[in-house]
């Protein structure tokens, strides 16, 4: 434990650990020292001088080294000048006056300076109402300025820094929080100061402008309205919006967010989602979120959302009532019994998946997980247990990241591992290509695509790296599916599990899956089995109930099993004797899969209902409804329960909380968990979001739950290691095409958010410049890959004769494949 130091602030005694800054010590006892440039997540710089306080220290007799006493108390000597509370660490016996006449006068005068050329745009400023400059001026400012109004300087008010963030040059108070965030926290130095004195400007030095996937966070911590998002611009005044707690559904990190909503005339009087803000959870996302989470929320309001049940009549989809749809579906399922298959994805909540699994079990059918990444039975058994927190990892902890491009797959984990490495954790990156996180790693293990599992098996025996792994006090292994399909990632998971097996159950130790979806881990916990051969499923099953998955959109070849698209049936497939299955699709949109369905059941979006997700760290977290449901859509678990009720199977279909109770009673890893427990919070540091937005920014305080890490299930029930299958090694004329994940893909959430969509570009593959040269191609030209036309992008980190094919970007790719690529 660090040494405690006792000091007095405004007459209150407080003991804090050595090295604490005065501003933080004061905060701990509820004294708010005004700050602008200081932010508790970043190194202090002492630039704005807003935090000036009077500091006195005990006088020490030089001869004796003793504290000089006066009237039985230590004699305190105050400095001639004020000191910045944000850069001065506490010391024993220190006396701090934050509200003395001298301190107040200086705080007042700094504000007067800051306002000399401030435009006072508050009425039109997006920050107005939650603006630190407004709040501090009210609290500490002078009633009038002594500066001459006509000497105010004017500057550009509408400067796009990138396509997501706008700068108002007049409002900027040059605190450098945005620049420091990009440099220190995001590790993408794309902002800088330009010029000096009153001409100081914020500029972006990247091309395209403000090229960072964390850019939205700068608008939260900017203490004025200088940085605002293009997405929200003038969307509403902060006080007009309602707030609902939610969990980001874009990746396995499970960032805590707050959804701000408002009833809007523009949207025909509907309550709509206006913006997504981070909600503090120091164990998950701290106070940050990535730009995908912040800006990819427009799918909820998309006009193409399904609003009513549809059923096929004379080959066409037609509107039907819920009663009719449910009756039809239930009838088919009841007839099919064991021939029924439930196919769901990690997009659904725990409650939805639990009900689907119960339904499948009730029928004697199968509950399958639609995924291209395996190994969940191992993360369930050897995952990180309760008490794990990336924030605590530092010296003594080794973190191994295998086959995962965290920057694209789980951006906030990228931030957290970067920080852990900076605190002294040993970061080992194993991948077939260079990824962004490598910059912060101690060791890099490079292998060829296909050798993932083998490389990891041999890792412990390697010099240095092996030592770092075996002798580490704590070991966390994150594995993903960069360049891998279901088989490859399952084998890799088994290899990774071997490394952490002996540490099972120890906090800050274990295996973490970097899943492609928000709740894949939940599906594994609830007993869903991955499916390798979907074609076989559609060939065998009588009824397929698909929820939250679009297999036909991802792989159009599957269509050959469905008669509605007779024209697309290849010759050989039509010879099969088994009739095509009856397909039920539960979805938000009319996806390719939905188009083939016999019955479509409209589901509610995450933003419209209650539920919970299990993050990659196996943290179950609740989300709450923010906006009213679209049309007649219903929550997935409700629909499933209603179907089940039709054939006499009783499932909970009214309250998500009761589904969780059932889950807690029957699923081992959920044992004892309740919605109430998930909603519990404790005091977090830094304190954000209360009356003082200047300290931590506009991040919301977490009052709705920090979530709970699930218990481990000691006996893995799954298939375990699967060593079979030689790595693909294409011959001279062929290429190895491997799937990779891009943050901004063409999935529905990004595709419906115009600002982000502009960033994705069209379908493309990534090649090494040498490979492209071999094909006689330059960047931007078209190639043909197995019949798909794609744009070529060059990336020197791609191995030669390998093509990276981004998932959800128009090319069906389930795993590594041998491909023919030629110029088109």
């Amino acid at each position: 434990m660090t040494k405690q130091v006792t000091l007095t602030i405004d007459g209150q005694q407080v003991a804090v650990s050595e090295g604490t800054l005065i501003v933080n010590a004061a905060k701990q006892i509820g004294i708010d020292i005004p700050v602008f440039c200081y932010h508790p997540k970043m190194e202090p710089v002492g630039m704005c001088r807003q935090c000036l306080v009077e500091v006195g220290r005990p006088v020490v007799d030089r001869a004796t080294g003793q504290v000089v006493m006066e009237d039985g108390k230590p004699k305190i000597q105050f400095g001639a000048k004020l000191e910045t509370a944000c850069t001065t660490p506490v010391s024993d016996g220190m006396v701090v006056l934050t509200a003395s006449e001298k301190a107040k006068a200086n705080q007042r005068e700094i504000l007067e300076f800051l306002l000399t050329s401030h435009p006072l745009d508050c009425p039109v400023c997006d920050k107005g109402g939650e603006c630190p400059l407004q709040n501090l001026t009210l609290a500490h400012g002078a009633p009038a300025s002594r500066f001459i109004y006509d000497e105010k300087q004017h500057a550009d008010k509408r400067v796009p820094l990138g396509d997501l963030i706008w700068l108002d040059r007049e409002r900027c108070i040059q605190c450098a929080r945005c620049i420091r965030f990009q440099d220190e926290i995001a590790g993408e130095s794309v902002l800088a100061f330009y010029q000096r004195g009153r001409a100081t400007d914020i500029i972006t030095n990247s091309e395209p402008g403000f090229d960072s996937i964390f850019s939205g966070n700068t608008t939260d911590i900017c203490p004025v309205g200088a940085l605002t998002t293009a997405d929200f611009r003038f969307g509403a005044r902060p006080w007009e919006m309602k707030a609902a707690a939610s969990i980001c559904s874009q990746c396995p990190v499970g960032c805590n967010v707050t959804l701000n909503t408002r009833r809007e005339a523009k949207s025909g009087g509907k309550v709509v989602l206006k913006r997504v803000m981070p909600r503090q959870n120091e164990a998950v996302n701290e106070i940050w979120i990535c730009d995908k989470g912040r800006f990819a929320h427009h799918f909820t309001e998309n006009e193409h959302r399904l609003a009513t049940p549809l059923a096929r009549k004379d080959g066409k989809l037609a509107l039907v009532s819920w009663d009719k749809a449910l009756g039809l579906v239930a009838g088919k399922l009841a007839d099919a019994k064991g021939e029924a298959v439930v196919l769901a994805s990690g997009r659904l909540s725990n409650e939805d998946l639990f009900n689907l699994k119960q339904l499948a079990d009730g029928l004697g059918g199968e509950a399958l997980l639609y995924t291209q990444m395996g190994g969940g039975e191992l993360t369930t058994a050897y995952g990180v247990p309760a008490g794990t927190n990336f924030a605590e990892m530092g010296i003594g902890t080794t973190i191994l990241v295998v086959a995962s491009d965290l920057y694209n797959e789980a951006p906030i984990w990228y931030l957290r591992l970067k920080q852990a490495a900076e605190r002294g954790a040993t970061l080992i990156l194993a991948n077939a290509r260079e990824t962004k996180l490598e910059k912060y790693s101690q060791f890099v293990v490079r292998y060829s695509y296909g050798d993932e599992a083998e490389t990891i098996c041999g890792l412990a025996k390697k010099a240095h790296v092996g030592e770092a792994i075996t002798s580490a006090e704590n070991l966390v292994v994150l594995y993903g599916s960069d360049g891998l399909g279901l088989d490859g990632s399952s084998a890799l998971a088994a290899a990774c599990a071997e490394l952490v097996k002996s540490r099972a159950g120890k906090p800050n130790n274990g295996l973490i899956g970097v899943w492609p979806r928000a709740n894949d881990q939940g599906a594994w916990e609830l007993g869903f089995k991955p499916v390798a051969d979907l074609k076989a499923v559609f060939q065998k099953a009588n009824v397929v109930y698909i929820a939250g998955a679009d297999p036909f959109g991802d792989n159009p070849e599957l269509t050959s099993r469905i008669p509605h698209h007779a024209s697309r049936i290849p010759q050989h497939a039509s010879r099969s004797t088994h009739p095509a299955p009856f397909i039920i699709v539960q979805e938000l949109f009319l996806t390719e899969t939905a188009k083939l369905a016999d019955v479509i059941l409209p589901a509610q979006a995450v933003t419209e209902r209650e539920g919970s997700f299990t993050s990659g760290e196996r943290r179950a977290q609740r989300f709450y409804p923010a906006v009213p449901a679209r049309g007649q859509s219903r929550a997935d678990f409700v629909i499933t329960a209603q179907i089940a009720a039709e054939f006499g199977l009783e499932l909970e279909g009214r309250f998500a909380a009761r589904v969780m109770d059932k889950m807690a009673a029957t699923v081992k890893t959920f044992a004892g968990i309740s919605y109430r427990e998930l909603a519990e919070t404790t005091e977090q540091w830094p304190i954000v979001g209360r009356g003082d937005l200047y300290y931590g920014g506009t991040t919301y305080e977490n009052k709705q739950g920090l979530g709970v890490i699930l218990a481990l299930s000691p006996s893995p029930t799954g298939r375990g290691a699967r060593g079979e299958g030689k790595p693909l090694r294409p011959d001279e004329d062929h290429w190895l095409a491997v799937p990779v994940t891009r943050l901004y893909d063409l999935g529905i959430t990004v595709a419906t958010s115009a600002l982000l969509k502009a960033r994705t570009g069209g379908a493309h593959i990534l090649l090494h410049p040498d490979s492209a040269q071999k094909l006689g191609l330059a960047a931007g030209e078209q190639v043909e890959l197995n019949g798909n036309r794609l744009e070529v992008r060059l990336d020197p980190t791609v191995p030669v004769m390998v093509a990276l094919v981004p998932r959800s970007m128009g090319v069906p790719i389930a795993g590594p494949m041998v491909a023919k690529i030629k110029a088109a």
């Binding site: 745009d121 039109v124 109004y149 003038f234 005044r237 809007e264 523009k266």
Partner: protein, 172 residues
């Protein structure tokens, strides 16, 4: 003299009647004749324009925030040089007041940073249903002044960059 007492009272009453017949008339023959309202009268709201025809309202919703009856609803949108409603970046694309809720307190006037909303002289308001009591922007906005052009206007880039007009000395 008990008999005479009512007669005396009657005479007194009739005298008052008679006297008032020769006094100055106070009744106005509304609606044929309307009395002018006082300078500070608070009647139906008017959304003002500048002389060039641009709207003063910048869609800041401060009036809505100040309104004790929660009667005002404002929604803002962004101006551009091609499609400009007001100076600066922002204008009110929706402006509604529920006149059944309004208590004509004038707080909205006080809150407005651009003096866009003003309680006018109009007091003849009738509604036959609740919906009709919600007045929209086109019902509040004043006619375009003779020297101005209607909104939206096409203006040169960089011409109207200030949303809130500069006040020379805020105290006068």
């Amino acid at each position: 003299m008990r008999v005479l007492e009512p007669l005396i009272e009657l005479r007194r009453g009739l005298w008052t009647t008679l006297r008032s017949m020769f006094e100055k008339q106070v009744t106005t023959q509304y609606p044929e004749h309307k009395r002018p309202v006082k300078a500070r009268f608070r009647g139906l709201h008017v959304l003002k324009r500048y002389d060039n025809g641009l709207e003063k309202c910048i869609g800041c919703a401060l009036c809505a925030a100040a309104c004790p009856a929660d009667a005002i609803f404002v929604e803002a949108s962004e101006n551009s040089a091609e499609v400009r409603y007001s100076p600066g970046d922002r204008y009110a694309s929706t402006y509604e007041i529920n006149l059944l809720r309004c208590i004509y307190c004038g707080f909205c006037e006080d809150a407005c940073p651009t003096e866009a909303i003003v309680l006018g002289d109009q007091y003849e308001l009738t509604f036959t249903n609740r919906r009709a009591a919600i007045y929209t922007k086109d019902m509040f906005i004043e006619p375009v002044p003779a020297a101005g052009k209607p909104t939206p206007q096409k203006t040169g880039p960089g011409m109207f960059t200030r949303s809130v007009p500069e006040m020379k000395d805020p105290s006068d």
